[in-house]
C-alpha cells in the first residue's frame, strides 16, 4: 500500500488540475473577454493587461494538464498556488474598493451588478484550491503520476542522505 498521503496527492492533483483545465479552456476560446476580465480589476498597467490576458488562459490550461498527468507536479503546484494567491488578492482588492465585477474566473468578466455577493465564495474556493496546491508542493510524489515513471529511482538511496521527494514507488 502506498502511503495515504500519495493517494491524497492524486486526489488533490485531479481536483486542482481539473479546475485549471476548465478555467483555461473556457478563456482560451475568448481571449478578448480574458483581456477585458483582467482589465476590469484595474490593478495592472494597461501595457501589462493584454499580455496577462493572453498568458493566463494558456498558463492555466498547461498547469492543469501537468497536474492531472502528474508531470513536474511540484513546479506546476507551485505556479498553481501563486496564481490562486494572486486571484485571492485580486478579488479581495476589488471587494475592498467596492467594485462590482465578474471575477472572470471561468471566462466572462467585466462589470456585473451584485457581483460582490459572490466574492466571499470565490475567495473561499480559491483559498481551498490554494491549500490543495500547497499540499502538493510539500508532498511532491503522488500516486499514478508521470513523474514516478519519468524520474524513477533505479539506484538505492544512500543510507546517510536524506530522502527526497522522488523516493521510490513501492510498486507501480
Amino acid at each position: 500500500m502506498a502511503p495515504v498521503k500519495e493517494w491524497a496527492g492524486l486526489l488533490a492533483r485531479l481536483v486542482v488540475g481539473g479546475v485549471w483545465i476548465a478555467a483555461g479552456a473556457l478563456k482560451l476560446t475568448d481571449p478578448n473577454a480574458s483581456v477585458q476580465a483582467v482589465k476590469a480589476y484595474e490593478l495592472l498597467p494597461t501595457s501589462l493587461v493584454e499580455t496577462v490576458g493572453y498568458l493566463l488562459p494558456a498558463l492555466e490550461l498547461v498547469v492543469g494538464l501537468a497536474l492531472v498527468l502528474g508531470v513536474m507536479t511540484r513546479g506546476a503546484a507551485a505556479i498553481s498556488a501563486l496564481l490562486f494567491l494572486a486571484f485571492i488578492v485580486g478579488i479581495a482588492s476589488v471587494w475592498a474598493r467596492g467594485m462590482e465585477i465578474d471575477c472572470g474566473c471561468f471566462g466572462g468578466g467585466g462589470a456585473e451588478p451584485d457581483a460582490s455577493s459572490s466574492y466571499p465564495w470565490e475567495i473561499a474556493r480559491d483559498a481551498g484550491l490554494l491549500i490543495l496546491s500547497a499540499f502538493l508542493v510539500w508532498q511532491g510524489s503522488t500516486r499514478w503520476s508521470l513523474d514516478s515513471v519519468l524520474f524513477r529511482r533505479r539506484t538505492p538511496p544512500e543510507p546517510d542522505s536524506p530522502l527526497d521527494a522522488t523516493e521510490d514507488m513501492e510498486e507501480v
Partner: protein, 247 residues
C-alpha cells in the same frame, strides 16, 4: 619457524582484507557512477519536460491570439452609424450594448470629445450597437432594433442623436421593468425622428436588424461590450488614454 608461519598468516589476512576493501571500493564507485548517471538522466528529462510545457504555453498564447477580433473597418457595417471624415488619420469602431453599464460609462466620458475630434477631422468613428445582454431581458434587443428603425427611417444623423440620448438616460442593468416602446419612440422623436415613421417599427420589439447586427458582431469575434477597436486593434486602455491617442 613459528614466527614465519605467523607472518604468512598475517600477510594472507592483509591480502584478504585489502581485496575486500578493493571490492567495496569498486562497488561504491559503481554506485556513485550509477547515481551520477541517474542525476544526469533526471536533469535531462526534467529539462525536456519543462521545455515541452513552456512550448505548450506558447502554443496556447498563439491560439488565443488567433481568436482575436477581426472587425469590419469603420463605415463598412450596415448596422452602425458613423461620424467624421472617412479619410481621417484614425479609425475607431465601438461595439456597444444599450444596457451595458460599461458602455454608458464610456459614452459619458467620451461621447462629446469624440464628436468634437470627429468634427475636427481627427477621427472617423463608427458606433455599432448590438444585442449582447439578451440574458438580462429584452431591452438590449429592443433598443438596438429601435436604433435600426430610426437609422432606416430618419437617417444616420438622427440615429446618432437617438444613440446618444439612449445612453444619456440609460436604464439600470438588471432592474426591470425596462423602458417600453413608448419611451423609445419618445427618445426617437426627441432625436428628430418623425413619430409616424418610426412608431410602427419600434413597436415591433426585437427585429431582424438587431439579430443581424448581433450575428455580425459575433462573427467578428466580439463577445463583450464596450469593445473599442482603434485602427484595427482592440484598444484596452482607459478612455483618457484613448482620447490622448486621438489628439
Amino acid at each position: 619457524m613459528s614466527t614465519k608461519n605467523a607472518k604468512n598468516a598475517k600477510d594472507a589476512k592483509d591480502a584478504k582484507s585489502a581485496k575486500a576493501a578493493e571490492r567495496a571500493e569498486r562497488a561504491a564507485a559503481l554506485l556513485r557512477e550509477q547515481k551520477r548517471r541517474e542525476r544526469r538522466r533526471n536533469l535531462i528529462t526534467g529539462g525536456v519536460v519543462a521545455a515541452v510545457l513552456a512550448a505548450l504555453v506558447v502554443v496556447g498564447i498563439l491560439i488565443s491570439k488567433s481568436n482575436e477580433i477581426e472587425a469590419p473597418a469603420a463605415g463598412s457595417s450596415d448596422f452602425g452609424v458613423t461620424i467624421g471624415d472617412p479619410d481621417a488619420p484614425h479609425q475607431l469602431v465601438i461595439y456597444e450594448d444599450f444596457l451595458c453599464p460599461g458602455c454608458g460609462q464610456l459614452e459619458a466620458q467620451s461621447n462629446e470629445q469624440l464628436a468634437a475630434l470627429a468634427a475636427d477631422g481627427a477621427v472617423h468613428v463608427e458606433y455599432r450597437p448590438f444585442n449582447l445582454l439578451s440574458r438580462l431581458g429584452d431591452y438590449s434587443g429592443r433598443a438596438a432594433s429601435a436604433f435600426g428603425v430610426v437609422l432606416e427611417k430618419s437617417g444616420p444623423e438622427v440615429a446618432k442623436e437617438f444613440h446618444d440620448l439612449l445612453f444619456e438616460d440609460q436604464p439600470e442593468e438588471g432592474e426591470e421593468p425596462y423602458p417600453d416602446a413608448d419611451w423609445l419612440v419618445e427618445k426617437a422623436v426627441e432625436a428628430g425622428a418623425d413619430e409616424g415613421a418610426v412608431r410602427p417599427g419600434i413597436e415591433q420589439g426585437v427585429t431582424d436588424f438587431a439579430d443581424r447586427a448581433t450575428a455580425e458582431a459575433q462573427q467578428a469575434g466580439v463577445s463583450g461590450t464596450p469593445t473599442v477597436i482603434l485602427d484595427g486593434e482592440v484598444f484596452n486602455g482607459t478612455v483618457d488614454e484613448l482620447l490622448d491617442e486621438l489628439e
